[in-house]
């Protein structure tokens, strides 16, 4: 799709990927790639936490109000779409939007709390949707480097796809959008079984043992399928697979050395954008092998 005029999309980073946070390389690479191939992203002014972590588990109204405030801010700035690269945020925003549309009373309470009207005429998209809708042609035209023999396993985690009736994104049992983007960068997608399995997500601190087991299953399956690296689109998945990889290896007695790359970083490498500018130096598991594949 030729972008005639730079269409501005509201950018909602959320706490995990905003500058200075623990997964900032996702944010960095998303912004760097959009500079190169569009679309134009503009950070929503005065955005707040979406309520995906503690708020959603303790107070439904609070978490809804927190999310709706962001949507209303976007609405007032005239954005038709919001990009929330973190699936925890995108899922929370979409569910809040739906809850408010289904419940008149909740809508009133929320509008009172945030002191702003909320008409809900903004579409929230995740990063895979953004690339698929706006950038596939741009990648094909502008990619400069083709990797030699790089096998990528696409890992979706849960929040991009579930609940399917609300998110309506891709096939919840056998999705293919990330694989399509991986193939567009010139890497090879591997077929593997656990791409929609839960990694343990938010239990990473309270039940690390469970997270270790679940992430081991994922790493084992990807490794057995012949993957050189795993592509993700979620900072939580990234944290569990990347940060905990050494510990998982020790616990389950298998040495893994699988770099975990954000899909935005992969696209950036294909466009020959500098690895440091994409944040590839901020990972726990060294991303050298992936960077070198593109050299």
């Amino acid at each position: 799709m030729q972008i005639e005029e730079r269409k501005k999309i509201g950018y909602y980073p959320g706490c995990a990927i905003t500058m200075g946070s623990s997964s900032e390389e996702y944010g960095t690479s998303v912004l760097r790639v959009s500079e190169e191939i569009g679309p134009e992203l503009e950070e929503i002014h005065d955005w707040n936490c979406c309520g995906a972590s503690s708020a959603h588990a303790t107070n439904h109204k609070l978490s809804t109000a927190l999310s709706i405030r962001n949507i209303s801010l976007a609405e007032q700035s005239g954005y038709k779409e919001i990009l929330a690269p973190c699936p925890m945020c995108s899922q929370r925003l979409i569910i809040s939007q739906k809850d408010v549309a289904d419940d008149e009373e909740l809508k009133k309470d929320v509008e009172d709390a945030i002191e702003m009207p909320c008409d809900g005429d903004v579409k929230i998209i995740n990063y895979l949707e953004l690339i698929k809708n706006y950038c596939m042609d741009e990648i094909a035209e502008k990619k400069k480097k083709a990797p030699k023999d790089l096998k990528i396993a696409s890992y979706y985690g849960c929040l991009l796809l579930r609940p399917p009736k609300v998110l309506k994104f891709d096939d919840p049992e056998n999705p293919t959008s990330m694989e399509e983007i991986v193939e567009a960068t010139g890497a090879t997608s591997v077929d593997w079984e656990l791409k929609t399995n839960c990694c343990g997500g938010g239990f990473t601190l309270s039940r690390t043992d469970v997270v270790l087991k679940l992430t081991n299953d994922i790493l084992e399956c990807a490794a057995d399928a012949g993957a050189d690296a795993i592509a993700v689109a979620c900072p939580m998945c990234h944290a569990n697979l990347d940060m905990r990889q050494k510990k998982i290896g020790k616990e389950y007695k298998r040495k893994y050395d699988i770099p975990i790359v954000y899909i935005s970083e992969l696209i950036g490498l294909a466009l020959d954008l500098g690895p440091i500018s994409l944040g590839l130096n901020k990972h726990f598991i060294d991303t050298k092998s992936v960077v070198n594949a593109f050299a």
């Binding site: 096939d171 919840p172 049992e173 056998n174 656990l194 399956c221 057995d224």
Partner: protein, 682 residues
Amino acid sequence: MGKKIGVFVCHCGTNISATVDVEKVAEEAKKNNPGVAYTTTYKYMCSDPGQKLLRDKIKEEGLDGVVVAACSPKMHEHTFRNAAVKTGLNPYHVEISNLREQCSWVHPDKPTGTEKSIDLVRMMTEKTRKDRSLTPIKVPVTKRALVIGGGIAGIQAALDIADGGHEVIMVEREASIGGHMAQLSETFPTLDCSQCIMTPKMVELAQHDNIKLYTWSEIEAVDGYIGNFDVKIRKKARSVDLDLCTGCSSCWQVCPCKKIKSEFDMKLGNRTAIYIPFPQAIPSKPVIDRENCILFKDSRKKNIKPNDSKVCRKCIDACPIAPVKAIDYNQEDEIVEEKVGAIVVATGFKELDDTSMYGEYGGGKYKDVITGLQFERLASASGPTEGKIERPSDGKEPEIVVFIQCVGSRDPAKGCSYCSKTCCMYTAKHTMLYKHKVHDGHAFVFYIDIRCAGKDYEEFSQRAIEEEGATYLRGRVSRIYKKGDKLVVLGADTLTGSVVEIEADMVVLASAMKAQDDAEKFAQKLSIQYNKDKFFSEMHPKLKPVESSSAAILLAGTCQGPKDIPETVAQAGAAASKVLALLSADELEREPVVAKVDRLPPPVFSTCIGCFYCQRVCPYGAIEEEDIKARDGSVIKTVARVNEGLCQGCGLCAATCRSKSVELAGFNDEQVYAEINSVEFN
């Protein structure tokens, strides 16, 4: 003519009298109501003494109109009308005032119920005043029956009717009769070999003097009505002349297309382009699959007649019949017409074979996740593996097999809401068949319930668990995925409260029994009703299980709903008995409560303006067009005419008619307005 109406108010035990003062209703009926000559109450009008009371009073009081204030006319209208007939009174002067379903059962307050009942009785008395005598319509009967479908239901029904002395025509759309039962290996609860018990019946049918069998044929159209059906049958082009062919098998042995997926083997095995579906097929004569045969593909591509194609002539060359070969590439579909008096619909079911909605089970992409019928074909001695249990992917014998019940059934979210009835039994059977062949194998069954309600069924399933060692786990399976060459099955065991992970070699899904893909279209062709799941509807679930919504069209087998073989055979026999009753009379009587479009003398001829809205709304196709002609043959106007044979007396045409030209006998305008006008509106 002054009417002498008798009003009989029934207590119905306490069903009516508990919430309606029946004595008061009887009293009020006579008050200020000239024409009501006699009133009384009785405990049970429908009983023998009740009916005797009715008959006696009609004679004693010289009644020429009767109102029975009692239960719904659907219950006893016939009873009281028949009682009247015995006295010589035309039964259509007997009306029912429904005081039970429409009053006493829904209003708990006695005074209110009584007032309403008084109104209801008055309404009916006013209607009765306007009643006219009606005579039943007599129609002739063609003493032949049509059975649609050649599975076990159709076969049983056909044999029963034929043994009863009447001619039967059977139409089966596959190349052979046998249906799904022919695909099964062993049947529960006896573990009889399915084909061993079925083939004798198949042969009996094929050789029966009274049965004419059309295979590779479909119903093109059904017109007509009870006792008088005109059926058009499409004999699809088999490309083989059934009269000449001897079934010698020379042709299919030389066919070069050997890799076509066999429908009979549920795509687990292959067949040739010219083929018989299975070794015991009846007729044992082949058919050419024109979709896949290279000669026909060639003729279509080159746009030439099939016999002009020279790309392959192996089968016709191998055919030993002379001087005219039994194979005829240019053979075309043929439409034949048959006249019958009754029809039995036995079109069977389809197994849910498209599991793409169950992505969590692989959505159909894992070769070793198979359905129930596919497992039957593996276990069957005439199947693609000659009865050896082998994994479709690599032919290895599976050491661990997981069976999952209720796939597609009892699942309103993704599948059908109903229970498919047979799967609990056939899964238990499958575990036994598996163990009989793989002695060291282990079978796991994931279930929600174990439904084994038939005779000897409970013992059968217990045998699978206690003697044959199948492990039954109560819980659902959430995910199946591949790990190496194993299938990891993740499920729950709710009785121990644990998660279960099994590395299986093969998984069998007990998939739902669904209506045929074209069930809806077929039902519309025959004008019979069907439910939301496209199973054909019986007239009454308890008391009329084999009658469809159309007179003289009977239902048998799984086309009416999921059921097993014993029930199917029983239902087929029941359908046959109804057919034999229909065909036993020389004439059939139909209720005269039918619609009639008025006919008047010239120059009006009829108030009908020929808009035919009535035709559009008639659910039974009973409105015809009639040209009113002048003496010179020119058409003056085209008006509607009701076919009395097809009309079911629903009254939609009378309600729709814009010119008030249609009336329903027994419910004409005069009668209905009399009822309405008698209600006092306060």
